[in-house]
Symmetry: C2
Subunit: 343 residues, 2 copies
């Protein structure tokens, strides 16, 4: 491996500068991505290993980030579960058979990832070859709550009314659904690691909709099941729970070698609460990248100062890059992290 | 005043049971509200004192809450500022002339509330008469950031891209806009108090989109300007910043006799961080009201237990009532708060 700073930081080892990668670094803000995107629809891109491989490499080549993250979608495992997923134009994911009842949950299939999503594993294998050890490759999945939220609501949601109604009226249905989802996700991440992913991240993008007590009761055991199940796989695991500042202790309890932070909390406060026996990842507001170069530089320095060169900080945004972000600002960000974190 | 528990709790005085009112308690979940709503559009309801008065009284009569809150909208002051506001069907507020430049900010008028929104003051006067001291009447406004977000984005937003772009590229434009907005809001709330509001709440509904450092730089001074300006008005002021769990200390620093809490944080943890020299209001997840009566009761008890009968707790939801909420569950909630908090 030519650049193993990211993996070292995950293991809280000393590095010569802070590694950085960016959530959704392969994306629409990049002209070379749009060139491909204009020719094929999103799901086709995910399901064609050569394309997934190509767009995964784009930010590595263009930005100089310290890790590659597989181009994929957290909802890819749904197909194999018997959930009909489509991406409507400008509307995001739409599920035609949302899960609402015990019978719906019964119908969900728990099958192996190699069978359900062989193209993901092929893309990983191809990527490892193409990357030639330049930077490590991160695989990923959604977390049980986030996946459940799509499956129950039938797509994206603002208020998670159907999820919460199920929790608060039919908890046994909720728990049986979460059991199935977490088993699928554990197998999915294990398969990615087997295929060659050198780290994995579990995204709990929407769990911030919950009160801490409900996270503890309805979510934590299932996130923990997945994260515990990965402990002996030999790769670092990042656990990112978005908008969960008020329950970081519970998020850390669920597990993860690295805890991902959104931008809503000061990194020093967050790390202290999580404990220094974990690495942390984050946490610049993605919309900082719409600011002037001076603002970007100042905010990078501020986060680095809060991390105090403590081993175990991976620089990242607090959420995915916005599609309208000027690409030159993203490059400036990566350069600033490297420049100002040099030990 | 027959029932002054709410005002006593705002001042952290002993009460015989915990007072409760609910954000958006006058709203579409109530059949008697819908009867009126079906006959007139939303802005007409706000601008007709008799209608505003009638729907304000509905939850007082139906639910037995311990305070009335004026039926109005946080965006009513925009008209007088020269911002063209409309409510598009099923789309929420739409502003045809969003503010993006220094010139746009210059054009904003700062005029007195009695001139800009006389109907609000009339509704308050009428309500005080109709309420006959049964329960106190709360007035309200948006907070500077939340109002700015609508004015800049041109309506509701998910990511506040234009707001943040202004902060991070044209801070002088941002600051001059916030100065004008906070002056308008201070005058608006003072006018409501003069008209008879016995407490006021400032809603910072969308400020949770910001990193703490940006809140401190771009928002706090303006929220503080409004809240400081109300100190000698003789009525309690509630400051509610939604999704701001990670910066409650800053929210408290901005001011408010009562700090409103959303449902994302445990009330005991939040109160400790804020300090016991303030009252707190909250903080049940509004979607609890889609649960069984048993779940509602348990969750009410849990929040009351976290408040420990400490003087200065006002029970509320952590956000507005959803329009599909079963009204019988809302009644059950109010009863449960009264029953289980009796000293």
């Amino acid at each position: 491996m030519f650049n193993d700073r990211f993996l070292k930081a995950c293991r809280r080892e000393e590095v010569d500068y802070t590694p950085v990668w960016l959530m959704r670094q392969a994306g629409r803000y990049m002209p070379e991505y749009m060139e491909i995107r204009n020719k094929s629809d999103f799901l086709t891109m995910c399901k064609t290993p050569e394309i997934a491989c190509e767009v995964t490499l784009q930010p590595v080549n263009r930005l100089g980030v310290d890790a590659a993250i597989l181009f994929a979608d957290i909802l890819l495992p749904l197909d194999g579960m018997g959930i009909n997923l489509a991406f409507a134009k400008n509307e995001g994911p739409v599920i035609s058979n949302p899960v609402r009842t015990a019978k719906d949950v019964e119908n969900i299939r728990v099958i192996d990832a190699e069978e359900a999503t062989p193209y993901v594993m092929e893309a990983i294998k191809l990527l490892r070859k193409e990357l030639e050890g330049r930077v490590p490759l991160i695989g990923f999945s959604g977390a049980p709550f986030t996946i459940a939220s799509y499956i129950i609501e039938g797509g994206g949601s603002k208020e998670y009314k159907n999820c919460k109604t199920m929790m608060f009226r039919a908890p046994e249905v909720w728990h049986s659904l979460m059991e199935k989802i977490s088993e699928v996700l554990l197998r999915y991440l294990k398969a990615q690691i087997k295929a060659g992913a050198q780290a994995v991240q579990m995204f709990d993008s929407w769990v911030g909709a919950l009160a801490p007590v409900d996270y503890a009761t309805y979510v934590l055991p299932y996130s923990k099941y997945v994260l515990d199940g990965l402990k002996d796989e030999g790769v670092p695991v990042i656990h990112f729970a978005n908008n969960a500042s008020s329950m970081l202790e519970l998020v850390a309890e669920a597990g993860g070698d690295v805890i991902g932070l959104d931008w809503r909390i000061n990194l020093d406060v967050a790390w202290k609460r999580i404990g220094y026996d974990r690495a942390v990842q984050g946490n610049l507001d993605p919309f900082t990248l719409f600011g002037t170069p001076k603002v970007i530089e100042e905010k990078v320095k501020r986060i680095l100062a809060m991390a105090e060169n403590r081993p175990g900080h991976i620089f990242n945004l607090g959420h995915g890059i916005n599609k309208e972000t000027p690409v030159e600002n993203v490059i400036a960000l990566v350069e600033a992290v490297h420049k100002y974190s040099r030990r």
